[in-house]
């Protein structure tokens, strides 16, 4: 940022007072000169008393008085009390655009757009977040919006921190836009374009002079400004934060067992059963709006699901054998005690054809799951090959929790499997655990 000389800061303070004063242009010029002369002499006295140039300028500005109050007093000195308390207050607020420095309007436009998009982003995020993440996101966005409002007003009041905020904002948007264009096809970004235009102006001396008489921005305030610029991005990052209101892999117990029938020693068919139990379920599993059950901005999945995978995608059955297996029955999660379906009862086959084996997926309504109850899902399988299946074929059951996390369990005819947490979306394992 361009540093102002002490003399420039003093003149800027004098002009700032007159910006709040409704007087004729000729009077204004004389007043600026007179007030500047006062500040200049006080500055010289400060230096004579042993202060540095900047310290002396700070002392001169502080001793001279608040710009707002002096502006009002000056207006009342030129006009009647009625005028000073009505039009005299309004005029400096709405007029004087010709006195605004180069880049002032663009800077405020960027702050305005940032505030607008912060609110729009907040409304979108509110539809698809878990409760704790939503709370964090909304708080961050409200704070970010509040800061844009403050900065918008502070820029008009010639406060230096607002200019620094706009500078960081413009840099961040332009940098973000460049990164977007590098990692994806060239994107058109309204904020990026405005930021690019603003960037041209905010590092010139015009705006630095404009805010020259206000307090300097210390390191701490600088850090706060950078954090403020990053706040609107919190909803994008909050997905990585564990939500204590939601179930985690540690809350899920899943075991898989395969009961096989044999013909001449070879596996001819059988039943795979998954037993599932949640120690804790999600608070507000469908979110504040039902949208969340089907849409999750952070994750890629659209719903929770239980998947039976007897060898699709080449794993874990030996390649070439999977097409010879047919599944029978319904892979639907039911309450182990009541036998009632515990989910939406949607059965989804995804394979080369309906009766060929593939991933059998049961979409689960997360709101239908209750804690500390046991659920089961089972599916029969028959080998159509005369030679049957290998001695110990591997079956895989996967659970995907709305794309946020998952668990995976393997079983063979001779060994049951216990679920282990996996990242989502669930990827085929490279080898049998």
């Amino acid at each position: 940022m361009t540093e102002l000389t002490p003399a420039e800061r003093l003149r800027s303070h004098a002009e700032r007072i007159l910006d709040r004063t409704s007087v004729r242009e000729r009077d204004r010029e004389e007043l600026v000169e007179e007030l500047y002369g006062h500040l200049w002499q006080r500055w010289q006295d400060g230096i004579g008393a042993g202060l540095s140039g900047d310290e002396a300028a700070d002392a001169a500005i502080a001793g001279f008085g608040d710009a707002d109050r002096l502006g009002r007093e000056m207006t009342s000195a030129y006009h009647s009390r009625l005028y000073a308390s009505t039009i005299g207050v309004l005029l400096p607020a709405v007029a004087g655009s010709s006195d605004r420095p180069y880049g002032y309007g663009r800077s405020r436009a960027l702050v305005f757009l940032t505030g607008f998009f912060t609110l729009v982003g907040g409304a979108v995020v509110a539809n698809a977040q878990t409760p704790f993440r939503l709370l964090v996101s909304v708080l961050a966005l409200l704070l970010a919006f509040f800061i844009t409002v403050l900065a918008y007003r502070a820029l008009a009041r010639r406060q230096r921190w607002a200019l620094v905020y706009v500078q960081v904002l413009a840099l961040a948007f332009v940098a973000g836009w460049i990164v977007e264009c590098v990692v994806q096809p060239v994107q058109v970004s309204l904020l990026g374009i405005v930021a690019l235009v603003v960037l041209d102006a905010v590092f010139r001396k015009d705006l630095s002079l404009w805010v020259g008489s206000s307090r300097r921005t210390g390191k701490l305030l600088g850090v706060v400004i950078v954090v403020a610029v990053l706040l609107p991005y919190v909803p994008l990052a909050v997905g990585a934060v564990p939500d204590p209101t939601q179930a985690s892999p540690a809350d899920l117990s899943i075991t898989v067992r395969a009961d096989c029938t044999r013909t001449g020693g070879a596996v001819a068919g059988g039943t795979v059963t998954a037993t599932i139990r949640w120690a804790r379920t999600d608070f507000l599993p469908n979110g504040f709006r039902p949208d969340m059950a089907r849409t999750d901005l952070i994750g890629a999945s659209s719903a929770s699901s239980l998947q039976f995978d007897p060898g699709a995608n080449g794993l874990p059955f030996p390649r070439g054998l999977e097409d010879g297996v047919v599944v029978t029955g319904n892979w639907t999660m039911v309450d182990a005690e009541t036998g009632l379906p515990a989910d939406a009862g949607v059965l989804v086959f995804s394979g080369s054809s309906f009766f060929d084996v593939g991933v059998v997926e049961d979409a689960i309504d997360p709101g239908s799951i209750q804690a500390n109850r046991t659920y089961r899902a089972s599916l029969g399988f028959i080998s159509q090959r005369s030679t049957g299946l290998p001695d110990d074929p591997i079956f895989r059951v996967r659970y995907d929790h709305q794309g946020r996390w998952g668990a995976e369990a393997f079983a063979t005819c001779t060994r049951s499997g216990v679920g282990q947490p996996v990242t989502t979306p669930v990827q085929p394992p490279s080898q049998f655990p």
């Binding site: 007072i17 000169e33 007179e34 007030l35 002369g37 200049w40 008085g65 109050r69 002096l70």
Partner: protein, 106 residues
């Protein structure tokens, strides 16, 4: 907390300073720092007062060049009307003091 003098007090004080001799804003503010003990007027507050005195015809201002690298100064002088106002205030103040002294005497 230091007391900020009311506008009317500040006006009287500024007239009082100018009654002594011609002065410019910085000079007046410096004198007020000593005179207005216990109060804390912002230095800039003298300028609205000076402009109001000019508007009311109690004082007039004129620019004086000081040097090449020094900003010129606007000196203020009380007009006859301003001097009359000052004289009336002084007389009133003196009469009030005399009356209060009389009340204190046994």
């Amino acid at each position: 907390m230091a007391r900020v003098p009311a506008e009317r007090d500040l006006r009287s004080l500024v007239i009082g300073v100018l009654a002594g001799r011609d002065a410019y804003g910085y000079e007046i503010a410096a004198q007020l720092r000593g005179v207005a003990e216990g109060s804390d007027p912002a230095e800039g507050s003298v300028y609205p007062v000076l402009r109001r005195l000019e508007r009311d015809g109690l004082a007039s201002g004129h620019w004086v060049e000081i040097g090449t690298d020094v900003p010129r100064r606007r000196y203020y002088v009380l007009t006859p009307k301003g001097l009359a106002v000052h004289a009336r205030r002084e007389a009133g103040s003196s009469a009030t003091s005399t009356r209060r002294l009389g009340e204190l005497r046994p």
